[in-house]
């Protein structure tokens, strides 16, 4: 087995040094009743070339050549080659969590730079080093809100990603939280409804752009929460933050979201990274790792994990979270992507997505389809009525090589004819023509 160096000579010498006569003797403390006496019933070992062939066969059974207009939380954005090159540096890829800072200045500085980028984009004062994904950071934010306010109710908009809502509801009982949803009307959320629901709430979570791709009246939603002394928590898209205002500027307490759009391949759902940022008041309640700046014994600037007393390895049952392994490498990919784009590139990326999505809307309307929410301004996604069952429409489109979108009826009653169509900068005008043709 080529991952093991051990030779017979090595083994004999080592057993002699230990003072036992066989490897089997090393396991003598294991009671006979729990010893596994058979060979493991697992598929046979493959050499590297056989493994490559096997994996290519499996990958070949997936269909990835249909033009991708599917979004609903994960997007087909371009991942630059430099991201791959950085992630393949073994010193980063194969490093552990940077608990020994003198061995880990590379990762620590990169996380500090990532934290800075997230704060800049979201208008917040502190960011953690990443959470698992865009759904679990919502649960994390609920935990922060509960302890910061002492209240036990969470308000979340129905126009927030269904999986985000589902994860929040899964975590809520253990946190002792009640979750209340505010329905959308015409694809947006009414701030007055939020104002009402937010009485005695710890937090109000709203997605912006929302799951339908629609721009909410975000400042009003934040104001409604603040009036009730509930924490406004915006679930946002990093790629939108070159053209949309930062949540910190319009009064939010926290900003969270799924980072995949910046720097990560879709990869059937992961691994990706959740981001979580907050006003400075909440720094000691924040879950996850935080990197801070300091100096070394020679006065040189350096970076360390800081405020570790929040975390499980110190505070144990009173920790702000149980999170240990996070998504550092994927967050690093996001940082690299954002660093390549810069502010102007990020703005252009947002504008291109909007322009192409708007063009797609026009072309689909010209092909005879209706928009689900024609009055609303959207970002890179919009909902369209297909004039039939949306799954059927999707299958017909797929037969023409176009993965036209996400059937909204999966999550929203009464929307069985609607498809959620995402248009990223990777889509071309020709591909949009094919979409219109495939759905008409």
């Amino acid at each position: 087995m080529s991952y093991l160096s051990l030779t017979d000579a090595d083994r004999d010498a080592m057993l002699a040094a230990i003072g036992v006569s066989s490897v089997d003797e090393l396991f003598r403390d294991i009671p006979a009743g729990v010893r596994y006496a058979r060979e493991l019933d697992v598929p046979p070992a493959l050499t590297e070339s056989e493994l490559q062939r096997h994996m290519e066969e499996l990958a070949g059974k997936n269909v990835v050549d249909e033009i991708c207009f599917l979004g609903a939380g994960i997007y087909d954005h371009y991942v630059p080659a430099v991201v791959d090159a950085v992630l393949q540096r073994g010193e980063l890829l194969t490093a552990y969590t940077p608990y020994q800072p003198e061995m880990s200045q590379g990762v620590l500085q990169a996380i500090f730079e990532y934290q800075t980028a997230i704060c800049e984009l979201t208008g917040m004062d502190v960011s953690n080093a990443s959470g698992y994904d865009g759904t679990t950071v919502a649960a994390d934010a609920c935990f922060v809100a509960k302890h910061a306010t002492g209240r036990s109710k969470i308000v979340v908009t129905e126009a927030t990603n269904p999986q985000v809502r589902q994860v929040v509801k899964t975590y809520a009982p253990g946190f002792g939280l009640e979750v209340v949803e505010v329905s959308h009307e015409g694809g947006v959320t009414d701030p007055d409804r939020v104002r009402e629901a937010a009485q005695d709430a710890a937090a109000v979570i709203f997605q912006h752009p929302n799951f339908f791709g629609v721009l909410e009246n975000a400042p009003e939603l934040a104001a409604a929460a603040n009036e009730a002394e509930a924490m406004p928590i915006a679930h946002v898209d990093l790629v939108s933050l070159g053209v949309l205002e930062a949540p910190g500027v319009y009064g939010c307490a926290m900003a969270i979201g799924e980072g995949q759009s910046a720097g990560n391949a879709m990869s059937y759902g992961g691994p990706h990274y959740g981001f979580l940022a907050a006003r400075s008041d909440y720094i000691r309640r924040l879950p996850g790792r935080i990197v801070g700046e300091t100096v070394d014994a020679a006065g040189e600037r350096g970076y360390v994990l800081t405020l570790q007393t929040r975390e499980q390895h110190i505070r144990r049952e009173k920790a702000t979270s149980n999170i240990t392994t996070n998504q550092t490498l994927l967050a690093l990919a996001g940082l690299v992507h954002l660093s390549l784009l810069g502010p102007q590139g990020l703005r252009e990326l947002g504008e291109t997505c909007m322009a192409l999505a708007e063009h797609a809307k026009r072309r689909l309307q010209e092909a005879g389809l209706e928009l689900l929410f024609p009055e609303q301004t959207t970002f890179k996604e919009f909902a369209v009525r297909t004039g039939r069952n949306a799954r059927e429409a999707l299958q017909r489109a797929r037969a023409k090589g176009v993965y036209a979108g996400y059937p909204l009826g999966r999550d929203y009653p009464g929307l069985d004819d609607a498809l959620l169509v995402a248009v990223t900068e990777q889509r071309t005008l020709t591909e949009i023509e094919r979409l219109a043709e495939a759905l008409s």
């Binding site: 403390d29 294991i30 009671p31 729990v34 060979e39 493991l40 070992a45 994996m55 499996l58 990958a59 070949g60 990835v64 087909d76 430099v82 393949q88 073994g90 010193e91 890829l93 490093a95 969590t97 940077p98 020994q100 800072p101 003198e102 880990s104 934290q115 759904t135 679990t136 899964t170 975590y171 009982p173 400042p219 205002e245 059937y268 759902g269 992961g270 691994p271 990274y273 935080i290 801070g292 700046e293 100096v295 070394d296 975390e311 390895h313 110190i314 979270s321 149980n322 240990t324 392994t325 550092t328 490498l329 992507h337 660093s339 784009l341 810069g342 291109t352 192409l356 993965y403 071309t428």
Partner: protein, 498 residues
Amino acid sequence: MKLIYEKSQPGRRGLGVPRPEGLEPPEVPAHLARKTPPRLPELAEPEVLRHFTKLSTRNFGIDTGFYPLGSCTMKYNPRINERVVGLPGFARLHPLVEDDAAQGALELEWHLQEILREVTGLDAVSLQPAAGSQGELTGLMLFHAYFADKGEDEQRTKIVIPDTAHGTNPASVTMAGYELTPVKTDARGNIDVEDLRGKVDEHTAGLMLTNPSTLGLFDENIEAIRDIFHGAGALMYYDGANLNAVCGISRPGDMGFDVVHINLHKTFSQPHGGGGPGGGPIAVRASLAPFLPVPVVARDGATFRLDYDLPKSIGKVRAFSGPFGVFVRSYAFMRSYGPALREMSEVAVLNANYLLARLKDAYDLPFDRLCMHEFVLSARTLKREHGVSALDVAKRLMDYGFHPPTIYFPLIVPEALMIEPTESEARETLDEFIEAMLAIAREAAEDPEVVHSAPHARPVRRLDEVRAAKQPVVRFGFGDHPAEQGAGDRQLEAQKGA
């Protein structure tokens, strides 16, 4: 070294974006539009690549050298795994495609589940949890659901955890809304069964245990422990952090555990990435399968699908079916070994015992037993006689070219050094590490100052963590707030460049 923001120059750019001809973006309503651009770095592509390459040279991975962190299982991360995870058929697959478009992915998940079932000796698997501690939380949610289904959830409020447990265990207990009952460890390093007996009753939901424990010792009384918990109608949760010791040798299901999480980034070589990603799939006994998070992977003959029809499911703990790229790597690793996963564990345990045999005289040994895949030494005597602590030993090991072991854990051992070599290391590497540890023990007696002031050979000297905690500077200041300026901003003014 400069931050990327300190290298930024207005007008530079590292990536172009397609601008479709003739299309104007619609206007964003004024009350929603960004007024001030975010201060992201402005560099051209070569400078970006150089910056991150330079950062990587200031870091140390398992690729660089020996990394014996106890309970972390820092083993070799095979490169074929990196190659295959990038195959377009995997990388370009959207998680919400209809099942017919994802047959390769679903088949891979199915096979991964089957291997995990065999290794754990349990019946059903969810691949969804993103990390070990999320697996723990999910497992405890399953406990709640299982007992609620029997009408016992209100009564069973306690989880028993040994004093050697990872901090994630008590943290998960709190997040799941349970109370913690601690149990002591005896002089052999096993759970103190007499202490345990008095603490398990009809108010107990279950046990959370790693076996072998964080002391690297297999609990000799595991069968008695199983009888106590199952006898009281309680469940047992296995923290899979130390599974590398027992693959194919002893199965958690056979030990009596009902729910197990596996750390794919430990036993099954998903690279740690500087802190993550990981994977924490759980395996459960059939009686708990109805409560698993949705979706689960189901098989109908030659086709595979995602099954959302679990009416008693606890819900969802993460998006989609889980971190798929992690599955690709772990599955590839498992396929490289086949049944020889057993040999992987045997070599891991052999390597650890070899180090233990050669180091136990120079350091204090809290538990005099053969170890499993890791072991704990103490620097207690060095501290008492020469003022050299476990921290000092760790920092000095850096000068010898090694990543230090885990220190100050488990909590029951003062000045603890927890060492896990893994099966990946050649004997010569182990011998070099032994020599370094022996040298440091001598230095402690003969020249303690060189140990206290270590490291000397890293990109930075010992860092001031007290300062970082007292005056947290958690983002680059851009010169916004002079009073809050970090050391770096001030240094930048004086610095010529890095």
